[in-house]
Subunit: 337 residues, 2 copies
DNA sequence: CCTTTTCATGTAATCGGTTACATTATTATC
DNA sequence: GATAATAATGTAACCGATTACATGAAAAGG
């Protein structure tokens, strides 16, 4: 591995001159430039970033923490992050924690230790205190997910409570009164907010939630299967299921279908996120869409502000959600109450 | 940001002693250890990795290059990579190129410049010469995807040609004679190998491929839609469609269904990869499974060998594939020829 | 009590770059 | 032609750590 010294020797100049040629920071005689470039070519030299970043104390790289990449939702958020990052000369590294807190702290150390310039959490196993402490030391943005009790850290989310409220209200307006809620319990802050929104909407319609219909099975495909089995074990199916993820909703529909229960005809199913598969599943899934691309873009913009000016004000953005009506919810027009 | 010097001053010792305490490399008097630890605590000091890795010339981190994370297939491969990496104290960073060659070279520079210890390609826009050159400079493994003409670089894949052969032979055995092939054309090396396997199986059965039935629409959901539309525009549907991805196969089924054509009854559809959705779609998708987890594990093991001993021999592993028979292919027992 | 080991710690070189400052060569000005 | 201004390049300090080597103190051996 050739170093800058080898290049300097080869070109017959000092390392400082080589550095100047590499960075274009200072004037260098054109013949010298040529000599250096020839030496670089000859030795197949690639500057070692570590030296540079050690001196400059910036890496032009940021970290994004995901729970898992098997959730389709994140791909579009990441595309949003990447589009802004690229434009500004930053690179994006992804890291999945698979819900392993130890793995997460290991990666966070990389930011603390200045191997990366900032961090965007799309999920975290850390609590609000830990995240706030981290944010005091380095640039942090939380996006798409919420951390209960977190203040003083910039974030970009939808209003999960309002979104769930709208979704459940839509179910109620279409004649569904007994509504099950399928989510990940307390693992995700957003799940809990959606729970609150669900309760809000039920209360507003004079309904109460049946504890047996709170299905804390998770957000995965498998969670949908478990939830469906639990429902089937009860004697009376609910009118509707509101799932905090599309993946779970789809497998729930699939499992109910095996028993001849068709979503959109025999039961209503509402998802969350508007993954591509929601559109293509049969029956197509009615769901709540999040502006994934925009969430990513805004998150990166906030992070850049924070990197460039550590004293930039904290911003907590709420982006608009949208109900996407397809086939899986029975439409009875104005009904119910 | 406190540095090791600050800690040394605070504790009244030299930086060397602080470093020794941090790394446990040498004996230090227990009172001194305590003093240093107190100073670290007091200053909230976190060692800067750059200094360390600059000196040690290793980062304990590797890079995985993906085309996109919206493809479910990669999540399990990555889990395999991560399981081995974690065990060995390595960290995994992911990077998506979204088919952007410029982005890819930027990330590769990070490995060249020793910011990362090695690289696993699950996809690449580079050609075999470029990858071979890179491999001459730093540890490289290619996994799950193949690069046409690549030699001298370790790799882990299935035998795509044989897998496609098996899949198509199964279609033929069940009475399908006119078979369409849906793939990404030349973008992925594996797609082409699967094409060759398809042709092999057809030839073997005395059949030839209809050029109009070569659908190079891609591997995405949208590709499935486009392919279905093209088929619908023809007057005579094929007996079967063999898709190089499950995602495309599923949307193809969905689109055909809109016209009343049901996979498993009116047409046969065979996917590739065995994504979770293949099991849960309705009708469930018959597909070819790859040992994703094992591909990831083996890839990381090969990379580690290469990192630890740059002269370790090149290995090109072929792992077994498996046909997963579900509902989307009509079963007529022994038929056809 | 003197010499040899062992232990604990400090000093300074080093990793691969960047950059403030110094130095020398060249050109411009009067 | 002497002086001042400018351009090109070199020297060496520096970023934040690690570590070979040096040093001095304490313990062990005779």
């Amino acid at each position: 591995m050739a170093t800058i010294k080898d290049v300097a020797k080869e070109a017959g100049v000092s390392v400082a001159t080589v550095s100047r040629v590499l960075n274009g920071t200072d004037r260098v005689r054109s013949e010298t430039v040529t000599a250096v470039q020839n030496a670089i070519e000859k030795l197949n030299y690639h500057p070692n970033f570590l030296g540079r970043t050690l001196r400059r104390l910036e890496t032009m790289k940021i970290l994004v923490v995901l729970p898992t990449i098997s959730n389709q939702f994140y791909s579009r958020v990441i595309r949003g992050i990447q589009s802004v990052a690229m434009q500004q000369g930053y690179h994006v590294m992804l890291v999945t924690t698979e819900n392993d807190p130890e793995a997460e702290t290991e990666y966070i150390e990389m930011v603390r230790r200045r191997l990366l310039d900032g961090i965007i959490f799309l999920f975290s196993t850390l609590d609000c205190v830990q995240i706030a402490n981290l944010a005091a030391e380095c640039p942090v943005v939380v996006a798409s997910e919420t951390i209960p009790g977190l203040t003083g850290v910039s974030s970009v989310t939808i209003n999960n409570r309002a979104a769930a409220h709208d979704a459940v209200q839509f179910l109620i307006e279409n004649g569904n009164r007994r509504i099950a809620y399928l989510s990940a319990g307390r693992l995700y802050g957003s799940s809990f907010e959606r729970y609150e929104g669900t309760v809000d909407a039920l209360h507003q319609a004079g309904l109460t939630i049946d504890k047996r219909l709170l299905l804390d099975e998770g957000l995965t495909y498998k969670a949908g299967r478990r939830a469906a089995r639990r429902l089937l074990e009860m004697n009376d199916l609910p009118d509707a299921v509101f799932s905090a993820s599309d993946a779970a909703a789809i497998v729930l529909m699939h499992t109910l279908m095996e028993e001849g229960i068709l979503a959109g005809r025999d039961i209503s199913v509402m998802g969350f996120d508007n993954n591509s598969i929601a559109e293509y599943y049969n029956p197509a899934l009615t769901t709540v869409a999040q502006p994934q691309l925009e969430i990513g873009q805004k998150a990166m913009e906030l992070l850049l502000k924070n990197i460039r000016n550590p004293d930039s004000p904290v911003e907590q953005l709420l982006l608009p959600h949208q109900l996407v009506i397809r086939e899986s919810v029975r439409l009875t027009g104005k009904a119910g109450n």
